[in-house]
């Protein structure tokens, strides 16, 4: 029989007035197992805690029940009191006789008293079945993985590395830089995107604690906070990074030209290429789909019919340091990390679904990102804005907002946040390029909520002379080599028709290709648009429900550069704070599988939100569920899903819950 001590708190008059405390104490004394009952004015006060400690020692108590306020208030306080008296802190139970009793039944003393007695009885019944629990300490792998080498990922990597931790930065493309590298200038300051980004890219590549892995992708993630194990697929460049001097002969001489992804298909690159001049690393990569020699090899291997592609190999012949390595294949690397930062970014919405706007049908209907490349001095037109159809400079340009945003039938219901500002920027820049340009901007609402944004948007109207028209457009069609745009100005309430040279669609930002698969690999949630879900939208904006996995940038929601950088830094500070610790204390209230009862049905695996249930083979080769205590959060979903009743939850066992219920009768 246990030796349980019960302490009833008056909480001044908070409990003592609505509840007859002597009656509660008297009833409690009669409960089997209770050897000591005491009362306090304020049990949470130092004298109150002292009385508990003293009683534990003097009365040799092995369980403690405190009838007081909500455990959400003082559970931690009293657990510490128990510990300081030498008792395992998990041998404490609290009967919530204030919030759940005294304060809600204040006008009915007998009922409140009767309820308080029962609440204490339930707590005693549960406490009698409490077990000593021992949190585990686990080590922390003091390295971080940053997934995605756009501005958010670069910022996160730099900040974590500056805090003194090793970082691996994984990027799918051959260069880091992300979408920001494609931009010409940035709002609202109009500083050149490359000028502010390139130094950061170089810094990341030269930081002693940062390892860049470009052409690489995360394949699988195992483990838990502090101890992740990640498989990274390192794509083959077929160029030896050690030997390559980035001299550029290969990509200049390669005869195979294909549309450049970086230029949004508006310019050409060779089959061996760096995506853009300032690429980091500046090591070329061979595009195995287009390289003539690789096509020749595949042709022979597959014994295809027809004429074989030429055995080109010009790059190999001309490469001074002989860095071309045809033998190099993709490889799988497994590394350990303590924290993960996910910054996988966005991709632009494909406007071809709007048949009425003719994107993809009429060459002079382009997207905002395509215009960025046309405006960029390093772009396919050397910074001259020219119409894709005939190469003439456009004089009348129509911008259309909300292409795929705020559209529940063909796009997304959300606002992409950045378009209003970049349309204003484009209007200002076009006017700077050519003062004769007249811009028209169709908008539904101007969303200019950042610092200096509203002023910037005004500048487009007042100084750059952009004509803002409130309304969506309905159709774009060609007429005499130009484009007729049909819209409405909803402020005057009349249909509008503008004959334009160029139409620029502000395509929505949507999560990058493969976002949902990435979320599944990381056991984090994603919403119906496939943006990643934060642990709390306000108070934990860069954390996820999975400890140790942090988020930054447009993979959370469309973000502009300042926001992405801020989130990168925020995620880095969270990751660094985690990596600064030598060990982590686990929550001991985790699930536990009884291997004798487990039938291996693995219902638990199916319901566990944290992938905390692993499987093992027993000695007789039976599949058994095993809980990973590092990952288990103690929700208990597996317990109620377990048909043979093989799983229990420490701290809220089936027996304890049953005892609480039985104590009522």
């Amino acid at each position: 029989m246990s030796r349980i001590g019960v302490f009833i708190c008056h909480c001044g008059r908070n409990i003592a007035e609505p509840v007859d405390i002597p009656a509660v104490m008297e009833a409690t004394r009669a409960i089997p197992g209770v050897v000591y009952v005491d009362e306090n004015q304020f049990t949470c006060s130092l004298p109150g805690q002292d009385s508990v400690r003293r009683a534990i020692v003097e009365q040799r108590l092995d369980r403690v029940v405190i009838g007081a306020c909500s455990p959400r208030m003082h559970e931690e306080t009293f657990r510490k009191a128990l510990a300081s008296a030498g008792l395992n802190p998990y041998l404490l139970e609290i009967a919530n006789i204030r919030e759940h009793c005294a304060w809600v039944h204040g006008n009915d003393r007998p009922a409140a008293t009767a309820k308080a007695i029962e609440l204490v009885r339930m707590a005693v019944a549960k406490a009698a079945r409490n077990q000593a629990l021992f949190p585990k300490e686990i080590g922390v792998t003091k390295r971080a993985l940053v997934i995605g080498g756009g501005i958010a990922g670069i910022q996160a990597a730099l900040d974590i590395a500056d805090a003194g931790h090793e970082v691996v930065l994984v990027e799918r493309e051959p260069s880091i830089g992300g979408r920001m590298a494609q931009l010409d200038k940035t709002f609202p300051t109009l500083d050149c995107s490359a000028c502010i980004l390139t130094p950061k890219m170089v810094e990341a590549s030269q930081h002693p604690l940062i390892t860049l892995r470009t052409c690489a992708q995360v394949e699988a993630v195992r483990g838990f906070v502090g101890n992740f194990e990640v498989d990274i697929k390192q794509g083959a460049r077929k160029v030896d990074q050690e030997k390559c001097t980035s001299c550029g002969i290969c990509w200049q001489k390669c005869p195979e030209k294909v549309p450049s992804e970086f230029e949004m298909g508006q310019g050409k690159r060779s089959a061996i290429y760096i995506p853009f001049a300032q690429a980091v690393p500046a090591i070329p990569v061979i595009d195995t789909e287009h390289c003539r020699y690789i096509r020749y090899l595949k042709f022979n291997e597959d014994k295809e019919e027809g004429k074989a592609p030429p055995q080109c190999r010009i790059c190999e012949k001309l490469c001074p340091p002989q860095a071309i390595d045809w033998e190099e294949e993709d490889s799988l690397i497994t590394e350990k990390f303590g924290a993960l930062v996910v910054a996988t970014g966005y991709k632009p919405f494909d406007p071809t679904v709007y048949e009425e706007f003719g994107y993809g049908h009429y060459p002079d209907v382009i997207t905002g990102l395509e215009l960025e490349r046309l405006m960029s001095a390093s772009g396919p037109t050397d910074g001259q804005v020219l119409r894709p159809s005939d190469g003439t400079p456009p004089k009348t340009v129509v911008f259309v907002s909300c292409i795929g945003s705020r559209d529940e039938t063909k796009g997304h219901s959300y606002c992409s946040q950045t378009c209003c500002m970049y349309m204003a920027k484009h209007a200002i820049l076009l006017q700077e390029h050519d003062p004769e340009v007249q811009s028209y901007i169709f908008y539904i609402d101007i969303r200019a909520t950042g610092k200096g944004y509203e002023e910037f948007s005004r500048r487009a109207q007042e100084e750059a002379g952009a004509q803002y028209l409130r309304g969506r457009i309905a159709k774009v069609y060609p007429k005499d080599g130009k484009l007729v745009v049909q819209g409405e100005d909803s402020l005057i309430g009349r249909p509008v028709e503008i004959t334009a040279d160029l139409v620029v669609l502000a395509a929505a930002m949507e999560p990058n290709t493969g976002a949902a698969e990435m979320a599944q690999r990381l056991s984090i949630s994603y919403d119906s648009d496939h943006f990643f879900v934060q642990a709390h939208p306000k108070l934990r904006p860069v954390e996820t429900q999975t400890d140790g996995v942090f988020l930054a940038g447009s993979c959370i929601f469309p973000s502009d550069i300042p926001q992405s950088v801020a989130q990168g830094s925020a995620a880095a500070s969270k990751a660094a704070a985690l990596l600064n610790r030598d060990h982590l204390v686990t929550n001991p209230m985790t699930a536990l599988v009884d291997p004798l009862k487990c039938t291996g049905c693995l219902q638990c695996v199916a319901v566990c939100p944290f992938n905390a249930v692993e499987t093992q083979l027993s000695r007789e080769q039976r599949t058994l569920a095993v809980i990973n205590e590092g990952t288990c959060k103690g929700c208990g979903l597996c317990v109620s899903a377990c048909r043979p009743g093989a799983i229990d939850l420490r701290g809220t066992t089936n027996q304890q819950l049953l005892a609480e219920v039985m104590a009522l009768w």
Partner: protein, 289 residues
């Protein structure tokens, strides 16, 4: 393989203003071995008028034909885009059991829940058409009108609402050149011809202007209402906008007939107001002289 027998709902216009559409439809389908059994007691679908006057009537009138076709156990086909639209809307409305009951009450008959409704274009686009005289030389702007593709959820007509291809592909197979033009599904003014002729002339002018811009030497249509608006009013457009189009507007069935070897006279090409004969002569369909 499409069934060879259909319940045929011509609609009012095909017995009057669109006589040439009816005649060409019957000749072409017969030659292709498709049997069109004209519904015996068909009535008007209510067209563009009934639905603004009475909802029970606007659903019940087309449902009358759904009932008749259902009794014969045949899929329904119509040549008129307006009728097609009304039939499709009615089919959709009667998916709701309460509405179906209401319509049953109005018609005094049980209304079938699912009756297949086709536009003739859908049926003929599935056919192998034997070409004896290629349509090469014709640069056709295919005009679908508003009601074949819209609303997509109701008509389920073509993959594309704004730029349908079904008629283009059909006529291409017959050797014609069809044009990529942006007004394939813009409205011609529909039933406003009598009360607001100004709207019809303005909208139809816009269409013909765009068709000519695109380089068309004729238009192909699949609706008698569109045909009237585009064919009949070219002279008024000329006096109002100064544009002298003289663009023949032909039913797609007439074009199929020509390709299958029927003569322009058999296809009643002389029934149009905007005379197709100069084009026919120029293209060698009819001997000059």
């Amino acid at each position: 393989m499409s069934p060879a027998t259909y319940a045929y709902y011509p609609g009012c216009a095909l017995h009057s203003t669109a006589k040439e559409y009816d005649v060409s439809t019957k000749l072409v389908t017969k030659a292709l071995g498709i049997e069109l059994r004209e519904l015996e007691d068909w009535i008007c679908c209510g067209a563009s008028s009934a639905h603004t006057i009475s909802r029970p009537l606007s659903i019940s009138l087309p449902a009358h034909e759904l009932v008749s076709a259902g009794k014969q156990g045949l899929p329904l086909v119509t040549s008129c885009a307006m009728c097609f639209s009304r039939l499709k809307f009615s089919s959709k409305e009667i998916q709701d059991p309460e509405t179906r009951e209401m319509v049953g009450q109005v018609l005094g008959e049980e209304v079938p829940e699912n009756q297949e409704v086709n536009h003739l274009l859908e049926v003929l686009s599935r056919e192998e058409i034997p070409v004896t005289r290629s349509l090469s030389g014709l640069r056709i702007a295919c005009y679908y009108g508003c009601l074949l593709t819209r609303p997509a959820a109701v008509t389920q007509f073509d993959d594309s609402v704004e730029n349908p291809q079904i008629m283009d592909r059909l006529l291409q197979r017959l050797g014609a050149e069809t044009l990529d033009w942006p007004f394939k599904t813009e409205c011609c003014g529909a039933g406003m011809l009598i009360p607001r002729r100004d709207i019809v002339i303005k909208l139809s002018h816009r269409l013909l202007y765009q068709a000519r811009q695109a380089g068309a030497n004729c238009l192909a249509v699949a609706c008698p209402v569109c045909h009237s608006n585009l064919d009949l009013r070219q002279r008024e457009m000329r006096s109002r906008y100064g544009d002298h189009f003289d663009l023949p507007v032909l039913y797609f069935t007439q074009l199929i007939g020509l390709a299958m070897g029927f003569s322009p006279a058999e296809m009643l090409l002389d029934h149009h107001f905007s005379d197709p004969m100069p084009l026919m002569r120029e293209q060698g369909w009819v001997k000059k002289g």
